[in-house]
Amino acid sequence: MLHKFQNYFLKRFARKEFLNRVLKIMSAYFLGKNFIGNKKIFSQTTSNTTTDSEGSKLTIIKGKDLSKETIFKMVDKGLENLGGINKFIKKGMNVVIKPNIGFNAPPESAFTTNPHLVEAVAKKCVETGAKVTVFDRPVHTDKLCYRNSKILEAIENAGAKVHYMDDRKFKEVKIKNGINLNKLEVYEEIIKADFIINMPIAKHHSSANLTMSMKNLMGVIGGRRGWFHLYLHENIVDFNKAVPVQLVILDALRILTANGPASGTEKDVKETNTIVMGTNPVSVDAYTTSLFNKKPTDLEYLTLAAKEKMGEIDIKKLNIQNINV
């Protein structure tokens, strides 16, 4: 029986030719893997979010209900107040929107960013003629999370590009003055992007106390996610040093006040009908704590970020503009 197999293979490939071919493919692969697949990139991204006058400017939009029309109107008014989307995004730019699609749950449970909000913002960006990509690195299975959170539908409606994160595409980034980390694996699309919009949902989180825009960046960081939960607060600050976020649109339409990040029930969900927009994630997070009746100093990572001079966390010193829709 064995010689039958041998004959079969020898007839197909002359041995030398076969080996030759294999060697060629393998050498191309290994060469390519060393150049393209090399995770190290030697340029260093630095966060350019900290400009005091701009950064402490927040726009708070309150809506009357959670209907799609109201949310679209809220986004319109909010972006107008910030100076219009054209101030940030030019035609042909590479825009990344990073919502929270972390969990396989319907939008009503407030584990993930409101799909209407994602749709409204993505549509605004697409209208400027930019190339818009939306993605997250979910905790649960990615396709289920995208679909059941209804964000997949929203992205498709807005005409943006749906992207599932790919493990091969993380690049190493060095962090200057990191508290706990000196390098991180950051997603390639984030490094390539011209403009990053962070769209978290505000909710209770057992180990970080509250999860908002700063913690949301864990979704573009590679490596073993569990390990970042040791010294979590220090790491959250370091994520924000590695990833330059230019605009934060925080979803506080429904907030999860207890049992976060992903086990609350209806009674834990509070409808606050609020969207917070700002350019500095630290200030945005600092204001949002007030929706949970907490102080910014209750959150260790906010205190750390203030110490590192990454943004203003004193709510009294923030330049807050309220809009009602």
Partner: protein, 528 residues
């Protein structure tokens, strides 16, 4: 029916059914609303319905579907094997590659006719074992086996191959611009959600491989002499109305049909047919040069006298004798005491977590047909077939391995797709009441306990609405021997549903610091 075109039509229909089978297999994944089509193939096996009914002493629902096939068999003969069976086409396709030497087929025929009745013995053994409570039918039934082998080995291997191929292309400069869009389409349409891999894929694949390689002995060796479902069909198709006829005036006994018959169903110089063996592939119509053969509807046994007239020609009878049936009966009895060999009785047993909705362990083993449909549909790759971890009687039944995948709370697909009653049909909203296990901490491994560093990943992940994992502030010694205050997690057993996400996401390298066992209240064997 005389036209040689029929053999071509059959081949295309068979291919069509294979594509339907593979399509349903690939798309038995998350958005499945109506599972009727997706698990239909395993409901078509009369052998499985019979053995499930015998082992659980309950009327199996799948009788409704499998009886239709049996009913059709009365009219059409063993058509299922040649036209529909996915294992049949797999064997046919590999036969084309394996059987090169066609001249040897004729000499094989005399030998194989002597062992063709083995399938009746296997059927009898499988049914007796079912009656004794061991669902061996699931292991060897072709429809169970083919779904299991395709899922656990072939599709998983294919998935891996494609991913590795495109990985290689991705790293070759210049090519990845072309290959990546193709890869995106494949990932969306053909491949699984994520790279899947299964425990015990080797035993599953080996069993499949043996069946394929048996074709070295003769074409469709499995179908001719071993398949228990084929045995049922051949028993029924003895009385079928649809029979092969040879016009004696035209036939010149060239034996071409006899050589082309993959089931070795033709004898007497091409003139006679074992109706119990003919799978209606119509290959004989194609190979007959004088167009003497045809298929007609006839009253069964109408021409039964003829073989008696020609008794001088020594034609072996296939039907098993009383003696050989007794042999297999005693073989089954002899096998019975060996099936409860289980060296993991006292240890590993606590880690055999069944999918949500599973019945009590002993009932579950009797009703599970080992088709691996739940294993395929699980979106997190959490379910794996077991081999001997829970003893022979539980071979190839599904098991949740939390370290490899967890049970998604917002999902009830496995219980939805199960073709038998082994898994209760549970609703998504009932998932938080369906207890499949209980978690406990391995405190020596747990980071807050042993190293004095806050971690809390398990508490964060816990999906129950009042968290089953809670934490308290405690002062422990860290690695430097200093006293530090950390959040110490602990499990509240009444709230834990055993979904295993804590074990899955535990950041500790190697074995998790929190592990899921069968529910504590269950005392080993009773799950509810």
């Amino acid at each position: 029916m005389k036209s040689p075109l029929w053999s071509k039509i059959r081949a295309y229909v068979q291919l069509l059914f294979w594509f339907i089978f593979v399509f349903l297999l690939i798309y038995s994944r998350d958005p499945v609303d109506n599972t009727f089509l997706y698990n239909l193939f395993s409901k078509l096996s009369f052998h499985l319905s019979l053995s499930t009914s015998l082992s659980s002493l309950k009327f199996a629902e799948s009788f409704f579907y499998s009886s239709v096939i049996i009913f059709l068999t009365i009219f059409l003969g063993r058509f299922f094997c040649g036209w529909i069976c996915p294992l049949g086409i797999t064997i046919d396709a590999s036969d084309k590659k394996l059987i090169k030497n066609k001249s040897s087929v004729f000499s094989i025929q005399k030998k194989i006719i002597k062992i063709k009745h083995y399938k009746y013995g296997i059927l009898l053994i499988s049914l007796i074992l079912s009656l004794a409570g061991f669902q061996a039918a699931g292991i060897i039934d072709p429809l169970s086996l083919v779904y299991r082998s395709y899922t656990v080995s072939l599709y998983a291997y294919f998935d891996r191959l494609i991913r590795i191929l495109f990985d290689v292309l991705y790293y070759i400069p210049g090519i990845n611009y072309l290959s990546e869009p193709v890869y995106d389409i494949l990932k969306d349409k053909v491949l699984d959600f994520n790279l899947v891999e299964f425990e015990n894929h080797i035993p599953v694949f080996l069993l499949f491989l043996i069946i394929i390689l048996l074709s070295y002995l003769a074409r469709r060796f499995w179908c001719q002499s071993l398949c228990p479902l084929g045995a049922i069909f051949s028993l029924v198709s003895r009385f079928s109305f649809f029979q092969r006829h040879v016009d004696a005036a035209l036939c010149n006994s060239c034996l071409k049909c006899q050589n082309s018959c993959r089931m070795n169903a033709i004898y007497d110089g091409g003139q006679k047919t074992y109706e119990s063996e003919c799978i209606k592939c119509f290959e004989c119509l194609k190979s007959c040069p004088s167009k003497a053969a045809s298929f007609k509807f006839n009253v069964p046994f109408a021409n039964k006298e003829k073989p008696i007239e020609n008794k001088q020609i020594n034609t072996p009878q296939i039907f098993t004798s009383r003696k050989s049936l007794m042999k297999s009966f005693f073989a089954a009895l002899l096998l019975l005491p060996f099936f409860n060999i289980n060296t993991n009785r006292r240890t590993n047993f606590t880690y055999i977590i069944r999918p949500p909705g599973a019945k009590r362990e002993d009932e579950f083993i009797k009703e599970c047909i080992r088709c691996a449909q739940c294993i395929k549909i699980c979106p997190t790759n959490a379910l794996h077939p077991i081999f001997l971890e829970a003893g022979l009687t539980a071979m190839f039944t599904p098991r949740l391995v939390p370290r490899l995948g967890y049970c998604e709370k917002n999902c009830n697909l496995c219980s939805k797709i199960c073709p038998t009653d082994a898994l209760f049909k549970i609703k998504k909203s009932d998932k938080d009441k369906t207890i499949i296990g209980t978690a406990y901490f391995v405190k020596d491994r747990c980071i807050p306990y042993s190293e004095g560093i806050n971690c809390m990943v398990c508490e964060e992940m816990c999906p129950t609405s009042d968290k089953a994992i809670k934490f308290k502030d405690e002062i422990v010694l860290n690695k430097q021997g200093k006293k530090v205050q950390v959040k110490i997690p602990y499990v509240i057993e009444n709230l834990c549903i055993g979904c295993g996400i804590c074990e899955n996401k535990c950041p500790v390298t190697g074995d998790a610091a929190i592990q899921v066992t069968t529910p504590k209240s269950a005392e080993g064997i009773n799950r509810f």
